[in-house]
């Protein structure tokens, strides 16, 4: 079994016009997906990254440069990530295909995590 990370790319403003009831069903679908995977022991973690206040850090000639961003107005940001356990990429894809993130217009970057030695 290997660890895989699902990096959740999304457009932050994509769903903001939804009505409360529709928001409820979107959240409900994620909850159901997480619960199902969790019960099967396949979902091992997941965190939301804060939408506001991000910083880009670079170093120029040894001098730290800090710039605000990415902003929630951006075309696409990483909204957060899920961690899953799967035998190989094929199985990880199989597990990820039902992730509601895809249904609601986001992209998933699926990456295997190198084990620490």
């Amino acid at each position: 079994m290997a660890d895989f990370m699902l990096l959740l790319h999304e457009e932050p403003s994509a769903l903001e016009e939804l009505a409360p009831d529709e928001i409820e069903s979107v959240i409900g679908e994620y909850v159901a997906w997480r619960e199902e995977l969790g019960a099967a022991g396949r979902l091992t973690g997941g965190k939301k990254l804060r939408d506001e206040g991000g910083r880009w850090l670079t170093s120029e000639d040894g001098k730290l440069r800090v710039v605000d961003g990415p902003f929630s107005e951006a075309k696409e940001v990483i909204g957060g990530f899920f961690m899953i356990a799967a035998g190989d990429y094929a199985e990880a894809v199989e597990i990820s295909r039902d992730c509601p993130h895809l249904k609601f217009g986001g992209r998933i970057e699926l990456r295997e995590v190198e084990p620490t030695h």
Partner: protein, 435 residues
């Protein structure tokens, strides 16, 4: 691109999922709006809507990935409250409104045992005030319906458009125009005084009646938003009926009417999706729980002397719903109600419904005689039911070829697919008999 995403959030497949979360977002949005409108003022409805929407969008951003907080409703309230405070601070009205906001928006207790502040009588009063403001006679009836659904009901603009089969932009325009009237201070947020009450209540009843009928006349099971319209109309009618200040026999009559009708909804559609008329419905599928509630309202509606159009319609609905078999339907009583109803409301549609009762009591020939004057009615010329009723009566008296002509006209005029399918099936029956 955005619109395709919105469409993909169809609710048809998510019923099961909704039971998992069961957060009642729509109700919460309505209640939160009602409370914030009291604190911030009805002329700031736009602001209130932004605050409420923002709180739900923040939940949408966080909860799918990080999971639900321990107390989801409390979380939403806290976010909305903070946002409202920010706005008040910016407007320099913080000091003046602070206490009211603090007092009004208390976090919900985390434990289920503790009594919930959120469902207190005060919230219900907030909702009642908001209903009266949104159903103000100074606004157009269309706007009243849209505003009530949006603010009190927590429906989205897209949902309202879908429920009323109009464009989203049409609904949005109605809302914008109505909000201008609110900003201009024409409409106050209060439960009307005794002298104004009957007229203002009638405006509210009319809005709820439209809301219910719009949902009820939708016979496809596909779009749940329309069933939600019925449920919201029932909820608000019962809210009015339960209020000591507002409720009266007429509110109970309206609630009884809605509940008797809604009780039969599950049996109206056959397994294959076909529309079933009353005589073909499996009555064991009628909702007993709703019938019990209807009966209670029906009983209470009899207090006092007034016999309103809602009383008569509730009585008619009760005759249909309480008959254990179609053959047991008390058509005599139904006809008597239609006679009285025609005196209160001389509309051709009421007269057409009366024709059906006449035919059941006095026979199809008598029904046809009552129908003929209606064929001259301008407003019924594009109404499929006029021709469907005529076809049925003609068929019963053996004038089969005329029946076929009439049913063809009815099919051409039918607005919804299930109604058209049903009429086409009848047309086929007439044809078979003809052979």
């Amino acid at each position: 691109m955005k619109s395709t995403r919105l469409k993909r959030v169809a609710r048809t497949e998510s019923q099961e999922v909704r039971a998992v979360a069961d957060l009642l977002f729509r109700r919460r949005a309505g209640q939160l709006t009602a409370t914030l409108v009291r604190v911030l003022g009805v002329q700031h409805l736009d602001l209130v809507e932004d605050v409420v929407q923002d709180a739900f969008v923040q939940a949408l951003r966080k909860w799918p990935i990080s999971g639900l907080p321990e107390n989801p409703a409390g979380w939403i309230l806290a976010v909305a409250k903070n946002r409202a405070m920010d706005l008040l601070r910016r407007q320099g009205r913080w000091a003046e409104k602070r206490d009211e906001l603090e007092r009004s928006i208390l976090p919900e207790p985390a434990s289920a045992q503790a009594p919930s502040v959120y469902f207190s009588e005060e919230i219900e009063d907030d909702e009642l005030r908001l209903i009266f403001a949104m159903c103000h006679p100074a606004l157009s009836v269309d706007a009243q319906v849209a505003l009530t659904l949006k603010t009190v009901g927590g429906f989205g603009t897209t949902e309202i458009a879908r429920a009323f089969l109009t464009g989203k932009s049409t609904v949005a325009q109605r809302l914008v125009r109505a909000k201008r009237a609110l900003r201009d201070g024409l409409i106050t947020l209060e439960i009307p005084g005794a002298n104004e009450m009957p007229e203002r209540l009638d405006a509210v009843f009319e809005v709820l009646y439209l809301m219910f009928n719009e949902g009820y006349s939708a016979t496809t099971g596909a779009d749940l938003v329309r069933a939600d319209l019925c449920n919201e109309a029932i909820r608000l009618a019962e809210l009015l009926a339960a209020s000591s200040q507002v409720g009266g026999p007429k509110s109970h009559a309206l609630a009884a009417l809605f509940l008797f009708q809604a009780a039969r909804l599950p049996a109206r559609i056959a397994r294959g999706g076909d529309l079933l008329p009353l005589d073909a419905q499996d009555r064991s599928r009628w909702n007993r729980h709703l019938i019990r509630r209807a009966l209670e309202h029906h009983r209470r509606s009899a207090a006092g002397n007034e016999v309103s159009a809602y009383h008569l319609q509730a009585e008619i609905a009760s005759c249909h719903t309480l008959a254990s078999r179609f053959e047991d339907t008390e058509w005599g009583r139904i006809l008597h109600c239609y006679d009285q109803l025609s005196e209160l409301d001389a509309s051709p549609v009421v007269a057409l419904n009366r024709v059906v009762a006449v035919a059941h009591v006095r026979g199809a020939e008598a029904g046809l005689r009552a129908l003929y004057p209606l064929k001259e009615e301008e407003s019924l010329q594009s109404y499929h039911a006029l021709f469907a009723v005529e076809a049925e009566l003609l068929w019963r008296v053996g004038r089969t070829s005329e029946a076929r002509c009439a049913v063809t006209a009815a099919v051409a005029l039918a607005q919804s697919v299930p109604v058209r399918t049903y009429l086409e099936r009848r047309s086929h029956d007439y044809l078979e008999a003809y052979k």
